[in-house]
């Protein structure tokens, strides 16, 4: 059987040229911009999506900032961001008439370019590729991970009962549920340690530590998404020498500080804040910078999280520890609502049955029992994804269903599969249920040999690495840790393999290590747990577009009523203007009011100051609540009947407007 799928994601070999093409094709809506230049001299660019015509310019409208590709392994984020830009510009023009979306698809172009290079093995490495001395020994990059067995991939080594001369200690045992996985033994149950686990490589500098200084190893480099100033984890491995020490992170922050009218930020990166609403009301040691969110922003996060679930069907994703992240900075220092999503999660973390099909673009629900009605291509695609992550019994059931379909339906399914995977699955050759059906994932998640974190892998919470000034363990001291939910990943992988897809797990194979003797080399393919097959990108970008639509619909929108003019005396007038937030979000979230970076909504009267008898030169509203929150500003001024006075309204978010008040006898 030919492979159904398909290479892993190919990096857009030129993100910027796709942005450029888009700007040319959709020139009425798309403008390219430059954020900065990477350390390697690559331009970091983005696209501004927003109608160039209209009463206000795109930079004056309420806007969403989307940033992807800070983590050099997270190709799905970059790919989805570009596809999202293309999709929004083509198919969501109405949205872009009223709101603006800034998209920076690749904030770490050097690492992406390095991974795309063919002159080195594949390796899990999200950080910068700059000279490093992670172990403080005065030698730079002297002990990186290596592809010892020459399979073109740097994976892991497991060593059974290492001899004392190796300096290694067994910490793991074979997972009884899956012999490919390792777990920490439970001594109380009589389980024993048997294996040591290392990154693939040698102790090149003979210092007793394996792969502790260089790409693919246990430390060094800068994780760009650990280099932002909000709760920057000083001294932590990968955090950089100081916050914003890297040209990429500094450029992003400076670019953001130059923007006005940012209502929200959405980051595509490992780690999630949409399903995992950050904890409200907890603060850093100064007592002022929130570690999660302000109490006052909880409702907004919960509502927007709901919109996100509706748009994507995601039910689970690893939570983000936001210390030092761009998402954390955008919230806690920049002062806007800020979210992050991995864009793609393992299919068992996507719930589809909650959503009933209604129309062509709707996610498919349960596959109807045979005999079936018409399937939409989307429903079939969805079914294929379900198949991949299903248990063998479920898969057997689904195959039976497939075989029981009328021939024309089967034909249709095959056509979609061809489109998705390039080859139809001859039903006869479809994978049979495994001889030993896997158990459903137990409450105690099984362990695997994959390190829970190659450095800077921001999937879940960093155990012991982040967090304030307590870090500083030497890189050499770090050991690979099982990640926790690898049994589920293995199940997903096996399902994909049964479909004919390339494996995401390199089987353990014996290798005679020059320093350690007999070892086994194997483990997860780099990036496997972060990136789906490329065929998924269009769907994922579509989900995000749906979310962007829903999110933008919640943006604040300041309108004005009045003005009301009252005559108090022959030449004395009271003018009142009312501004109202017709949007759902407050004009400034609670964190924005605290941070005071953005301007309050200002309401001012354009008359010489000496004519203002009462009232402030500027009416200021720091935050106007959503759904009709309002602010009224009154002035008493001198003036002659018939005179026209201008009132300028400058909202925190959204275009400025000017209204006129005529000093007339009666006004209500």
């Amino acid at each position: 059987m030919m492979a159904l799928v398909v290479a892993m994601l190919a990096v857009a070999n030129d993100v910027n040229s796709r942005l450029h093409d888009l700007a040319r094709a959709e020139s009425a809506y798309v403008e390219e911009f430059r954020v900065g230049t990477s350390a390697g001299g690559r331009e970091i660019r983005g696209a501004r999506l927003g109608a160039k015509t209209g009463e206000s310019g795109p930079d004056d409208r309420a806007s969403l900032v989307i940033v992807a590709g800070l983590n050099g392994m997270h190709r799905v984020g970059t790919e989805a961001a570009i596809a999202l830009a293309e999709g929004l510009a083509r198919d969501h023009k109405t949205l872009l008439d009223g709101a603006t979306v800034y998209i920076v698809p690749c904030a770490n172009p050097d690492t992406f370019a390095w991974h795309a290079g063919a002159d080195h093995p594949k390796v899990e490495w999200p950080r910068t590729i700059r000279p490093m001395d992670a172990d403080h020994d005065g030698r730079v990059n002297e002990d990186p991970a290596e592809d010892l067995n020459g399979d073109g991939i740097i994976t892991m080594m497991r060593i059974r009962n290492p001899a004392p001369t190796t300096g290694l200690h067994a910490e793991f045992m074979i997972d009884p549920e899956d012999a490919r996985l390792l777990k920490k033994p439970d001594a109380a149950k009589g389980e024993r340690t048997e294996f040591a686990l290392l990154f693939e490589g040698s102790d090149n500098d003979h210092d007793g530590a394996f792969n502790e200084d260089g790409v693919g190893g246990a430390g060094g480099g800068v994780d760009l998404d650990l280099n932002f100033p909000a709760r920057w984890p000083e001294f932590a491995d990968g955090a950089g020498r100081f916050a914003l020490s890297e040209p990429e992170t500094r450029a992003l922050v400076e670019w953001m500080l130059g923007l006005k009218n940012v209502a929200a930020v959405l980051v595509f990166g490992p780690g999630d804040t949409l399903l995992n609403v950050p904890v409200p009301g907890k603060f850093d040691p100064s007592g002022q910078v929130p570690t999660g969110i302000e109490e006052g922003d909880k409702a907004a996060y919960e509502e927007i999280g709901k919109l996100f679930k509706e748009a994507t069907g995601m039910t689970g994703a690893p939570a983000l520890d936001n210390a030092g992240t761009f998402q954390g900075w955008a919230y806690a220092h920049y002062g806007v609502l800020s979210f992050q999503t991995p864009v793609w999660v393992r299919p068992d973390q996507v719930k589809t049955e909650d959503f009933t099909p209604k129309g062509e673009e709707q996610n498919a629900g349960e596959m109807p029992k045979a005999p079936a009605g018409e399937f939409t291509p989307d429903q079939i695609r969805d079914r294929m994804r379900q198949f991949r992550s299903a248990t063998p019994e479920e898969q057997a059931k689904m195959l039976t269903e497939y075989q029981n379909l009328p021939p024309e339906q089967r034909e249709k399914v095959q056509a979609v599969m061809r489109e998705m995977f390039g080859e139809p699955p001859p039903a006869a050759q479809a994978p049979a249920p495994a001889a030993n059906p896997e158990q459903p994932a137990s409450a105690q998640p099984p362990a695997t040999p994959q390190p829970g974190g190659p450095p800077g892998r921001r999937g879940g919470r960093r155990g012991g690495e982040g967090g304030g000034s307590g870090g500083g363990d030497s890189a050499a001291a770090k050991r690979p840790e099982p990640a926790g939910d690898d049994a589920k990943w293995m199940k997903y992988n096996d399902a994909r393999v049964r479909e004919g897809d390339a494996t995401g797990f390199v089987e353990w194979a014996a290798f005679d290590h020059p320093q350690l003797g007999k070892v086994e080399i194997g483990g997860w393919m780099p990036g496997f747990k972060m990136n789906p097959p490329t065929t998924e990108i269009a769907r994922l970008a579509g989900e995000q577009a749906k979310f962007v639509e829903a999110l933008a619909a919640k943006f604040p929108k300041v309108t004005n009523q009045g003005p009301w003019v009252q005559r108090l005396g022959p030449a004395l007038w009271r003018i009142t203007a009312r501004v109202t937030n017709e949007g759902w979000m407050a004009t400034m979230p609670a964190i924005g009011v605290k941070a005071r970076r953005a301007m309050p909504t200002l309401v001012s009267l354009e008359v010489p100051l000496e004519r203002i008898v009462a009232g402030d030169r500027f009416g200021r509203a720091w935050a106007m609540a959503g759904s009709g929150g309002m602010n009224e500003t009154s002035w008493t001024i001198t003036g002659t009947p018939g005179e026209v006075v201008k009132i300028n309204i400058s909202p925190t978010i959204g275009p400025k407007h000017t209204i006129e008040a005529t000093l007339a006898e009666v006004s209500r």
Partner: protein, 575 residues
């Protein structure tokens, strides 16, 4: 060998000495230290010193201020004892707050005195043989220049010149204080008011006193001199600048809403960024002094209470010894902890160097009221006025004058001017500079110097095998790596390399806790390249033992490298 070198140095000194006594070290550049200098004048002095002592002074331009003034680091080093980067160095700067001007003169004085003393004074010459120095007279030349040239008070022009919309009205720096009476200073405005809370002293009309809550006063204080330039009903609410550049550094940096003046992000301003780049490029910096005014303090970190534990006890002992000796050298100065005894600082300069880089750093707050009379006793107002009148002849006071204010009508303007309160009186400046120079040189003299201590070679059991035991010593107070550097993994470890003779090998190595120790704590990897994350402790040593194979009479070559100590080479012969 040590003796002969000292003798040679003394001979050299004797030949070059033309002036008879330490008090009369001749200077090729005579700088009066009974006055203050604008930044351009400071630059001129720097150029003159560099031109007069070209062998040991080099001016390096490390960048520009926001307004384009050059930032010059004067590198002072004796090249005959190695390049500056090969030696432990002390960084000395001042004036990060633009109004704290004597910090600049103290730095200039230190540069001037140290350079003129080279070859004329044995102690300072030796210091300059062992160490190098980096002087930056002003971290904030813009703030300094505007303090001199614009109307100011003693506390204004502290920040840099980045325009900031303090009152959030969309306009930048639109309502500064104004020198309404034309005295060159921003003083106070007073208005007669039957409901006022202040009384004017009948004997000394310069003094206003607040009345008790149940008493009526006659005057109201209207704050600093100025008018409502932007007509918003507030006076002086949006003056020039700025970021507090002593809050713009990356350790424990917190945003503006936690601490006003923090800047947009750490190193957002060009001056801290340029200085930070220089310091990061010079890991040989082992000591830091950053002069401020005022209050008579020798301050150390941490800057915030929750970072109390960050400086390890072994480092605190170093700080304590230097700080307490400083109290002796600097009368009316007290050794204090920033967060505990002054106030909380997030992202300060010495917070970065001390807490972020693990470098032994102090901030001296120059000048204290207590120095007015140089006797113990309270510095009450009466005593201050006596001093201002009899010793400063009223120069720090602008007499009250009537003024017709556009918003307030008839008022009085006057009071203490910008030269009062914080700036050292000029006739006392030289002494203040010199005492602080003495303290920083004492601080510098605690930087580590490594040397070979006792060395023993004994024959081992097998033929051509040897046990080499040696001690690396450091007689100075500071360790080669601070406890903080060791704990947080800052910088490169110290490394001892042992090169065996041709055909030989280093077979094992280990640490001994004392010379009486019989078994070593084995170093299991790379015995010929021993890493010491903790370096060599202050006033102590590290004893190492090596099992070496090699023919009798051949030499084992030793090399000790450290970021903060001069490289040490040596050897032992196997016999």
């Amino acid at each position: 060998m040590k003796l002969s070198r000292t003798f040679a140095a003394m001979t050299a000194l004797a030949c070059s000495l033309t002036a008879p006594a330490q008090e009369h070290i001749p200077a090729k550049v005579e700088i009066p230290f009974n006055r203050y200098y604008r930044y351009a004048e400071m630059e001129e002095w720097l150029r003159k010193i560099a031109a007069a002592y070209p062998e040991i002074v080099e001016l390096r331009n490390i960048g520009k201020s926001l307004e384009g003034r050059d930032l010059w680091v004067a590198v002072v080093n004796n090249p005959r004892t190695g390049p500056d980067t090969s030696k432990p160095a002390m960084w000395i700067d001042g004036n990060v707050h633009g109004n704290e001007i004597q910090a600049g003169e103290a730095t200039l004085y230190s540069l001037w005195y140290l350079t003129k003393a080279q070859g004329h004074n044995a102690d300072l010459t030796k210091l300059l043989d062992n160490y190098s120095f980096y002087f930056l007279v002003s971290q904030n030349p813009d703030g300094r220049e505007h303090w001199f040239m614009d109307v100011q008070n003693s506390s204004s022009s502290r920040s840099n010149r980045r325009p900031v919309d303090n009152d959030r009205d969309g306009a930048l720096d639109e309502d500064r204080p104004d020198d309404l009476d034309g005295d060159g200073s921003i003083t106070q405005m007073w208005k007669q008011d039957p409901n006022g809370r202040w009384l004017r002293d009948r004997d000394d009309p310069r003094i206003f006193t607040r009345v008790a809550d149940d008493k009526k006063g006659e005057w109201t204080n209207l704050g600093s001199e100025g008018i409502d330039n932007d007509g918003d009903g507030q006076i002086n609410e949006d003056g020039p600048g700025g970021d507090d550049m002593n809050r713009n550094w990356p350790s424990d940096w917190l945003p503006d809403y936690v601490q006003g003046g923090a800047g947009l992000f750490p190193f957002s301003n060009p001056e801290p960024r340029a200085i930070g780049a220089f310091i990061l490029a010079h890991p040989n910096i082992a000591a830091v002094q950053s002069y401020h005014n005022a209050g008579g303090m020798i301050l150390r970190g941490p800057g915030a209470s929750y970072r109390e534990g960050i400086i390890p006890g072994e480092d605190l002992r170093v700080y304590d010894e230097i700080g307490r000796n400083g109290e002796v050298l600097l009368p009316y100065y007290r050794y204090m902890i920033i967060y505990r005894d002054l106030y909380t600082v997030h992202g300060g300069f010495v917070n970065w160097t001390a807490e972020g880089l693990g470098v032994f750093s102090f901030t001296n707050e120059l000048w204290s009221d207590a120095k007015y009379f140089q006797r113990d006793g309270s510095s009450d107002d009466t005593r201050r006025w006596l001093f201002r009148d009899r010793l400063q002849f009223g120069q720090t006071f602008t007499p009250y004058k009537e003024f017709d204010h556009p918003q307030y009508g008839k008022i009085l303007i006057g009071g203490l001017n910008k030269w009062s309160s914080r700036v050292t009186p000029t006739f006392m400046l030289e002494e203040e500079c010199h005492r602080n120079f003495g303290f920083t040189m004492y601080h510098a003299d605690q930087m580590p110097i490594v040397s070979w201590g006792r060395t023993e070679v004994t024959k081992d059991a097998a033929p051509n095998t040897w046990i080499v035991t040696l001690e690396v010593r450091n007689e100075k107070l500071m360790p080669t790596r601070s406890g903080l550097q060791r704990q947080k993994g800052i910088g490169v470890n110290d490394i001892l390399t042992v090169t065996p003779p041709n055909g030989g090998s280093v077979d094992a190595a280990g640490f001994l806790s004392s010379w009486q120790d019989t078994r070593m704590d084995e170093i299991r990897h790379e015995p010929a390249r021993v890493q010491l994350p903790g370096g060599i402790p202050g006033r102590g040593g590290v004893i190492l033992r090596f099992y070496v194979s090699g023919r009798e009479g051949e030499k084992v070559v030793l090399k000790y490298t450290s970021e903060k100590a001069k490289e040490l080479t040596g050897g032992v012969v196997l016999r």
